[in-house]
Amino acid sequence: MPDDLVAWHDLSVRYPYQERDAVGPVTLSLRRGERLLLLGPSGAGKSTLLATVNGLVPGAIPAAVGGKAELAGRDATSRPPAEWSDTVAWLHQDAEQTLCGMSVADEIAFALENRRLPEAEILRRVNDAMQRIGIPVAWRDRRTATLSGGERQLVAQAAALAQDAPLFIADEPTAHLAPEAAARLRTLLLEARGDRGVLIVDHRLDGLIRDIDRVAVLDADGRLFAEGEPRRLFRTHGADLAARGIWRPAASELDEELCRARIALDLPPLSVEEALRALDALGGMCREAAVAGVQSFVAGRCPAPSPLLDRESLVRLTDAACAPLFGPVVLRNVTLDVRDGDSVAILGRNGAGKSTLGATLAGLLRLRGGRREGPPGGMAFQNPESQLMAGSVREEIAEALGRTVAKQERLQTADRLLADWGLAGLELRHPFELSQGQKRRLALLALVAADRWPLIVLDEPTAGLDAAGVEALSRRLQALTQGGRALAIVTHDMDFALRTCSRAVVVGDGGILADRPMIEVARDGALLGQAGLEEPAAMPALRWLEKHAPC
């Protein structure tokens, strides 16, 4: 069709030496001016499908491609991928995948220079993009290598926006962003424009979904399983998506609970607030019936606080000055106590010092001042590859079990643990061959199996995981705390923090802004604003319940 900006016709992709297709066959299109969200479980082939749009697969990444991908009415493979940069702007999950090591202004100008635009036009677009993203003019000549991870992500966003291409592709653009920065990106990315199509893959759907025109869902085999306008799609397929471990907005969960309570809102909601407004408009009888549904929704996302037991202190920081390895002090006067069975969320903006605090709690970083008391802790790093050292998955766990037990026994125990953690069948694979979710699971299992660390610190454990992966992780972490282990979880995911952690430490302005029960932090709008955080999706529902069912 002439209005199709992107069209896949029975497209399938199989990488070399693989026994099954990475994606497809898929028939799907994106119209001009449309914003299409692509959903699917980990490994469904979403990124592969995106890479066929400009012929990156098979042009730069070898693969056998069946069917056809068209861009702007032309076969995607009819031009080299580089030439399609006049039509497609990409924003990757990781800014490292985009930036080349130049100054901020040069990075933003790069794609425009490649298109041989006049210098004056390039400078105008660079200034405009910096202004829209909110990049200070003082950064203009700074090398991107000197910026923090969050700041680099802003530069990558500005570079993609400056291209002003007819098609904008964003592959999990908010995965590493603090909530405030993620919200700003969504506003810029999804502004309605008749001349631009947006193709987005993301897991953080609340806030995003209201600006999406159409959703396409791939199943675990990489085939199109559902497609349609968001409200109807999540009403019709919401439960199925959850069963397949695919992300859906919180409002879809609430809608499902309400339907279960025999309240079917006329318009399926896209946000929790919208659903609650619709409930308020119902009569008293219906509202009473809705209470059960809202209660069930809140209970799943905001577990009742565990009773405060007088547990012993496990790790204590007193007036600590925390700094990354060989770096300057980023947090001062930190006084913090982690007890047995605690699960503490460490929250804050990008670059606030969350990971540094986590590593300090684990005893991995030397203090520049103050005192740390308590046994060493284990840490699951943001990049799980950093801690995977053995030649196979089985050896990784067998090594972690320690050498006090006979090797044969260790290997048997490793196989049993791998099966328990859903990694059966991968025993002989090299750890680096696993998917991101599997690597995270293996790294955490290695820590747990060692049984050496009463405190485990997890740095962004949900990044890149699908809903099923996060759900399973949450269950495993709860089991660990029930077993008496203490957890400190560095995360941007407020919903995960609320579901998993009983306490939150908010980091900002070079120190600790708050150390309170997680639910109190989630209720404190001023604190959330100060720390660049958003309230979890369940909070409006909790307030609604307190108003309508105070008991």
């Binding site: 400009n54 990156l56 730069a60 990444i61 080299p80 991928p81 580089a82 030439e83 940069s85 497609v88 990409w90 990757h92 490292e96 995948q97 985009t98 930036l99 080349c100 090591g101 130049m102 100054s103 202004a105 040069d106 100008a109 790069f110 794609a111 425009l112 220079e113 490649n114 298109r115 041989r116 635009l117 006049p118 210098e119 390039i122 400078l123 660079v126 090398r143 991107t144 290598a145 570079a159 990354p324 390895l325 060989f326 590593a359 684990a362 991995l364 970083l365 030397r366 060493p376 284990g378 840490m379 790093f381 990049n383 590859e385 950093s386 801690q387 050292m389 972690a400 680096f432 050496r452």
Partner: protein, 242 residues
Amino acid sequence: MLSRLHPLPKLVVCLAWVTASILVFDARFQAATILIAAAALIALERKSPLVVAALMIPFALFGFGFLTTSVLFRQESDFALRMAGETPFGTAAFSAGIVLFLRAVACGMVSVLFALTTDPGGFIKALMANWRLSPRIGYALFIALHLVPDLAAQAQQIRLARSMRSGRPPRRIPGPVETASLAVPLLAYAIRRASRAAIALEVRGLDGRTRTITAAPRLGRGDAWFVAVAICLLGALIATLR
């Protein structure tokens, strides 16, 4: 001041001084070159004299090898000994060694002067704009510049993970065994990063064709003055020592 100059005339001047340091076998010339380079860094670029002295150390260590070789193996240094025969430093072997030592330091200091006063990004842009360096090579150099600090950060994270398993905090400077064991994971990381970067460059439109280059360094009157003064100074120095 030197930082504001166009990188390419500066490169030509520095190469001329390095070439002269190699060809002129006179300790006074080498010493003068070192002094001029150090003075330019201290007076024009406001570098600390201590930093400048510290920067000389690796070149001095390198040059010290020439000195000892020349003194201990004088029969193999016949040409250098004949060249240094009329210099005022004790024995001919020692004189030749001193010249070789100072030559290493002089070449090193001129290189340091260029490196400390030149923005790598501006230099690569100037090469692409003026000397037709292929953008593919130019941006590969940019990526390499970016990769170095990232490799260091990755190495630190691997060291932290290992120290966690061993139960000992990481040493400030890794020992030889630890360094060797970091090589394979860092190589794997570098290959993955380089592949991703290559794809990112292609997606953003980099190909072998000509492209607009914004904010490339431009030649100015200051560059002409710099070249004239530096070449005159070099000529005068050579003439004085003849």
